[in-house]
């Protein structure tokens, strides 16, 4: 049984207008995919392709108009509230904008401790020890726990977001452009951290990104979304670059070669 199974999800928004007819637009059209335990699926696509909306639907934040989301075999949107709460602890998230993902009035300990407070009430010392442990796992100092978000850099803040996501030892994390807003060096650091966590904790990722190199680096399987539809699904990333599908070709061509001299050769 796959860990996550999305079947025939269609979702759209309608903007309300007082004097005009409401305009409906579909963001997702009939999307189906599955993720196996321990697998990382890289979800590629241009901005506006519906990647993040799919992420929200999977996270249980937005009920799709049609279709089902099965997590560990349970329908996320049909489940009873208490069942859904139980499911939630195994499904966590890291967003792109690390600054808006944390409450500016809470310090690192409160941010990382929030899921622990909700699911694993510990004694005060235990709680602090656990938070410090998590900070060390993501490569920060235990003393950082009393710092506030504005005292961290973007990369450090993203590490805090990751620490919060892994606090409950989830089975799956949705990484919604989690490295896209960071500089190249920090990006590769965070990617390395994510790879380590994946092997150490047996995590599954849904890695949403527009950066094909990052996706290629971390993923086992790759998929491409285009205008709300799943255009390509490739279970083995090694075969991805060879696919003849036009959207894959476009992505591969948009990738800059390692050295400028190679560029002219490729264009012919």
């Amino acid at each position: 049984m796959s860990l996550l199974h999305v079947s025939h999800v269609t979702h759209g928004y309608s903007a309300f207008r007082l004097f005009r007819r409401a305009k409906r637009s579909n963001v997702l059209t009939d999307v189906s995919l599955s993720i196996e335990p321990g697998q990382c699926l890289g979800l590629l696509g241009t901005s506006g392709a519906g990647k993040s909306t799919l992420g929200k639907v999977i996270l249980g934040l937005e009920k799709p108009q049609q279709g089902q989301v099965l997590f560990q075999g349970v329908d996320l949107y049909a489940a009873h509230a208490s069942d859904r709460n139980k499911l939630r602890r195994d499904l966590q998230v890291v967003f792109q904008d690390c600054y808006s993902s944390v409450n500016p009035r809470m310090n690192a300990e409160q941010i990382i401790g929030e899921p622990l407070l909700n699911y694993e009430p510990l004694s005060k010392q235990e709680h602090i020890r656990r938070v410090e442990e998590l900070l060390e796992i993501v490569g920060l100092h235990p003393e950082d726990r009393s710092k506030y978000p504005h005292q961290f850099s973007g990369g450090q803040l993203q590490r805090i977001n990751i620490a919060r996501a892994i606090a409950l030892k989830p089975k799956m994390i949705v990484l919604d452009e989690a490295v896209s807003s960071l500089d190249m060096v920090t990006q590769s650091d965070i990617l390395a951290l994510l790879c380590d966590l994946k092997t150490n904790f047996g995590l599954s990722y849904l890695f949403i990104t527009h950066d094909i190199k990052a996706a290629y680096h971390i993923s086992d399987a790759l998929a491409v979304m285009e205008q709300g539809k799943l255009a390509v699904y490739c279970a083995d990333k090694e075969q991805f670059m060879g696919l003849q599908h036009p959207s894959v070709q476009k992505l591969v061509q948009s990738m800059l070669p390692e050295h400028p001299r190679l560029r002219s050769g490729r264009e012919t």
Binding site: F16, L61, R88, V93, S100, N103, N118
Partner: protein, 277 residues
Amino acid sequence: MIASIRTGLRSQKTAAVCSVILAVLFILSILAPWIAPHDPVHVNLGVKLQSPSWNYPLGTDQLGRCNLSRLLYGSRISLGFASIIFISSLLIGLLIGTFSGYKGGLIDQVLMRFCEGVMAFPSLVLVLGLVGILGPGLPQVILAMVMVQWVYYARMFRGMVLSLRERNFIAAAKISGSSQWTIIRRHMIPNVLPPIVVMGTLEIGWAIMDIAAMSFLGLGIQPPSPEWGSMIHEGKSYIRSNPELMLYPGMMILIIVVTFNILGEALSERFGVKRRF
């Protein structure tokens, strides 16, 4: 939260000075019945229009009433009712604004167009019109002012709810397993509170001035109750011979409104809140 306000106040001398002035005024108004030397409505024509003396520290008015006592009792009305107006319009605005922002759609559109309609009128004119319909008297004035004031709060809270709802940390809290009430308590209220503190200080000054204006026009508090606006109104016949009758309550209004405004500005700087929407 309170700790952060306290450190903010300590770091800013203006805010600290203003807070002290206002605190003193509040305490004086609460203690008025015990510290006022005379009954504020006791008429004694034998001692009318006296200059300051030991018995009457600020002199007496045209009916021989003690000016200081009237000022002290007047502060109870100004500060007390301004607070009532502030709190009730804040609560109504909080309720309707949050509801409107949360619901969206038709309800939101209708409520917000209504608010904009109310805001398009100068608020004093609107209050005057409503008092004209409801009839003169303090309860009517307060009701009219609350009816006009809440729309500003409703719009502010709606905007806050809209912007907070889109912030990722609310979504992240939901995914971390926090219930709706926990999210409101832990994430929404701490982020909404500072602007309310700022708004409050500015709006109370506004309310005090409007209560006084209504009384001056003879629509608010009715004589002989002491109120700063009505004291100015009664004193205006004596502007040539005894200008202090107008000067004392006028100074009180000036001090209190200016202090509230400076405090509001200082706090808005501290918390980075814009004055109005």
